[in-house]
Symmetry: C2
Subunit: 526 residues, 2 copies
């Protein structure tokens, strides 16, 4: 943010020693009696400073100088310098040797755009592929995860689902061969907006085509074809991965044995779209974003931090923060010059700061700070948009004119009342069709789109499904989990396992609750 940086530069490092919060800058009581002395000292250098704002400029400076020094290092080493048009993407990527890459050299048809000329898919595997290649589980990731779901020989660091993958675990490597890919559109080895466009020799940026969840799944099936894997034992995914998991079963019902959908949805809701829109908006408003063409410069790190702060709010729950942080404040700064501490000698209360002061604020600040250089901003924008446009209702699917898999077995015919597209007869059948688990009663007012969703999900009518939701999830609320289970049952699926979990972990439950989430998966797969 050039404007802010230059402002700071003018003021210089002295400012960093000024008080944190504005109020204590002048601890002497302001009364008419001492107006003159205050007025005489109120020059711009006495303005309050804000470490949380300065952090953005400091990050910008660090990035700028590290970029300079890396350019110097490159040009002083014997290796040929990188061409000017091909700087390294600015986010931290995993070591390219820590995962495998499949290069698909043929065009990939896309839902909304002309075919992608070619693409890479990064992937990792766990367990042993059976000779019949019939023990494969395709694991789909959430928005920003890499293929590194668990540690491997190539990359011993802990994966994002470490405790769910291994001998005897939810995805049992004694039984199954598990494949996890970095999603198409991502930035951890798979082709995405930060990749080179072979047709121009430059990075795609926002010339990258809009993706759908179906496109991501099609790319994964190109990998499966390459590996000679005809049949998946199961498709498993959480969050956005649950969308992919449903899409995989929908596109290839004959190739997908079972589907696991955890804390996902078959139809993104306006409230989830709203939260992702807020993230894209702050990201795209960062001047560094530069309409998506920032790969020659500095990334929109401030926008990424702000976007991640917003995202983090949706990942847990109010009750968790009540328990974990309550209204507790960060520890008082060590320096007595920090004004947000209580002036203990005066007995006055600790002065609140406008920068992070409550623990919940420092938590969000930390989450944003630690993410903002780890992921590509354009990947976040494109993949979050793919989540928004995901909709398995029949009318939305008709719009996309997706080609069904030719090997699909015919799902059982819908009852006439459903096939007629009128909602009231469908609702008459509602109580008859839905064989709910005891954990949730049939909704008194099923959503109007439920019959359409049931019709859209017909290709999944013969696939055993596990739908699992969390009651404290505010991003993919439990009503959406019930909706998927209900629609599947209305579509004729007799093999829907449905679970709801309590607890306070919200959307992140799928990362944390090994016992309940893992247990449900293990039971369903065995």
């Amino acid at each position: 943010m050039p404007g802010f940086t230059s402002h700071l530069a003018k003021v210089g490092p002295r400012r960093l020693r000024l008080p944190h919060a504005p109020v204590r800058a002048k601890p002497a009581p302001r009364s008419p009696a001492n107006e003159a002395s205050i007025a005489s000292t109120s020059k711009p250098r006495d303005r309050p400073s804000f470490p949380c704002v300065e952090a953005h400029a400091a990050r910008e400076s660090r990035l700028r100088s590290s970029r300079r020094s890396s350019n110097l290092a490159t040009s002083s080493t014997p290796q040929p310098p990188l061409p000017a048009s091909e700087p390294e993407p600015p986010y931290e990527r995993p070591n390219p040797r820590s995962y495998k890459v499949y290069h698909h050299s043929k065009p990939l048809p896309l839902t909304y755009a002309p075919p992608l000329p070619d693409f890479d898919i990064a992937y990792e595997t766990w367990g042993t592929l059976s000779p019949a290649k019939d023990n494969v589980i395709l694991l789909h990731t959430g928005l920003s995860a890499s293929s590194h779901a668990a540690s491997t020989d190539l990359n011993p660091s802990e994966g994002w689902w470490e405790k769910f993958i291994g001998p005897g675990r939810a995805l049992d490597t004694n039984q199954f061969f598990i494949i996890c890919t970095n999603v198409l559109g991502g930035c951890y080895g798979s082709t995405g907006p930060s990749s080179m466009d072979p047709t121009t020799g430059q990075r795609y940026g926002t010339r990258f085509p809009i993706l759908s969840i179906f496109d991501m799944v099609r790319a994964q099936f190109c990998l499966l074809d390459h590996l000679g894997i005809r049949q998946l034992y199961a498709s498993v995914g959480c969050s956005m991965g649950a969308m992919q998991s449903l899409a995989a079963g929908w596109l290839h019902p004959e190739r997908v044995g079972k589907v696991v959908s955890i804390s996902g949805t078959a139809r993104s809701s306006p409230s989830a779209i709203a939260m992702r829109f807020a993230q894209r908006s702050v990201l795209m408003a960062d001047p560094n974003w530069n309409n998506g063409f920032y790969y020659d410069g500095l990334p929109p790190h401030t926008g990424m931090k702000l976007a991640r702060q917003i995202a983090t709010i949706t990942y847990r729950s109010g009750p968790e923060w009540d328990q974990r942080f309550g209204r507790r404040l960060r520890p008082p700064p060590q320096s007595s010059q920090q004004s947000s501490t209580r002036a203990r000698d005066s007995g006055s209360p600790r002065v609140p700061a406008l920068c992070p002061d409550f623990l919940i604020e420092t938590y969000l600040d930390y989450q944003g700070e630690s993410f903002c250089l780890k992921y590509d901003a354009n990947s976040l924008i494109y993949i979050s948009k793919a989540m928004d446009v995901f909709d398995l209702t029949s009318s939305a699917l008709a719009e996309l004119r997706l080609t069904p898999s030719p090997q699909r077995s015919s799902p059982p015919p819908l009852p006439p009342s459903l096939a007629s597209h009128t909602s009231s007869p469908a609702h008459q059948h509602y109580h008859w069709l839905t064989s709910h688990s005891k954990s949730h009663p049939p909704p008194p007012n099923p959503p109007a789109h439920l019959p359409e969703l049931a019709e859209g999900l017909r290709p999944l009518a013969n696939t055993p499904m596990l739908i699992l939701g969390v009651q404290s999830d505010i991003l993919f609320p439990v009503e959406q989990q019930r909706e998927v289970a209900d629609a599947l049952r209305m579509a004729g699926n007799q093999a829907v396992s449905y679970y709801e979990l309590g607890g306070v972990w919200g959307h992140d439950t799928f990362l944390l609750d090994v016992q309940n989430v893992g247990g449900a998966i293990r039971g369903f797969l065995s």
Copy 2:
């Protein structure tokens, strides 16, 4: 945002005619066969454009030129030009003649800072003050509202609570004399960060002291003293106004006859703090914010738009958006050059845009755009912080060392189990003390802070209270309403009226549901 503005300026207005979404910029299928032609046309001028991002730069340009022309106009008219140190604040204010202003020329003690040397409070009134001055209702506003709650002779435009104020309405002007103030810290006529600091002759900016809800209420009571109003018939408020309403009853139990608290809280929760923190963060990261000293330049209009988008998400509810917007898209743009329309002749689906495309997105965009120049950014920061630090539990109050009103009547003593501060005996008394309305059962696990809140609310034990909450409110959830009612009952209050409303309007219900919200208030006040 200077960096972005200059980037746009280089590109010029031609960009505005480029396609909306990136994908359709090259509608020809990309295949190896036509790589060369695409590569040859992929110069920077062919980059996709983003109207939603350009809107920020366009707004910046408009503001800059209107500022220039207003300076010109000022200097060409006979009136003396404004001194350079005193430009008009950049937000749109109501006409200063449309409300009354009380100037308090003595220092106002503050919770966290030395006294404010003097202050203004803007206010409006409805109805007729009785000779005994005993029919006064003090109405408190939400965060960003002005004193213009309803139309007046001075200002006939519709107020923010128009349908709740008038003859026979919830606040019945046939019976009551209603006073509404712009809050201390605001920007609609009351003293706030955009006001002139009498000690420096410059605008306060972030030298303005951190405020508490108690400070705001103290300023209102200075106005009441000035008007010779000793006794309030009732204190009424919604949202942040509910906090003020509780604080008024707490500070002056002998002067406040009844308290109405609608969709408020007695203790801001970490999840509400998180949402307000996200808003402050995007605002403070806008380079125009300039550490709060932007009154000589351009306001942080982009940050304000982004902040309002986030805020708007918290004002309604997912179910409302489901009903109102669902997954519907904005109408296709008229121009065939707009790429987010479906290429109807090709039969391909409408290409999603990265700028607002779903109606929920255009709604948030519109709400942000129409607010971003109407309110002062520093007021938003300061007042939202005052909401965060509001906490009526006994330990938080002890920290503040607030001076209780000397006229306070003794509340009934707490049961020994509560006074002992241990939660388990308190919980034993819980079912005995709480005489819940039929609409909510006692919580099986009352929050751990409930006894402390009950102790903190003791000064309100003799005041008839109306607590009203909305089940779809995600900002002040219904659990917080129950908590206030429960804590009041535990504190010995035998006159707590408690209502919960259904519906989908979320937090905004207090602005919309005249029948139910208005009816409850009318019943309680009569």
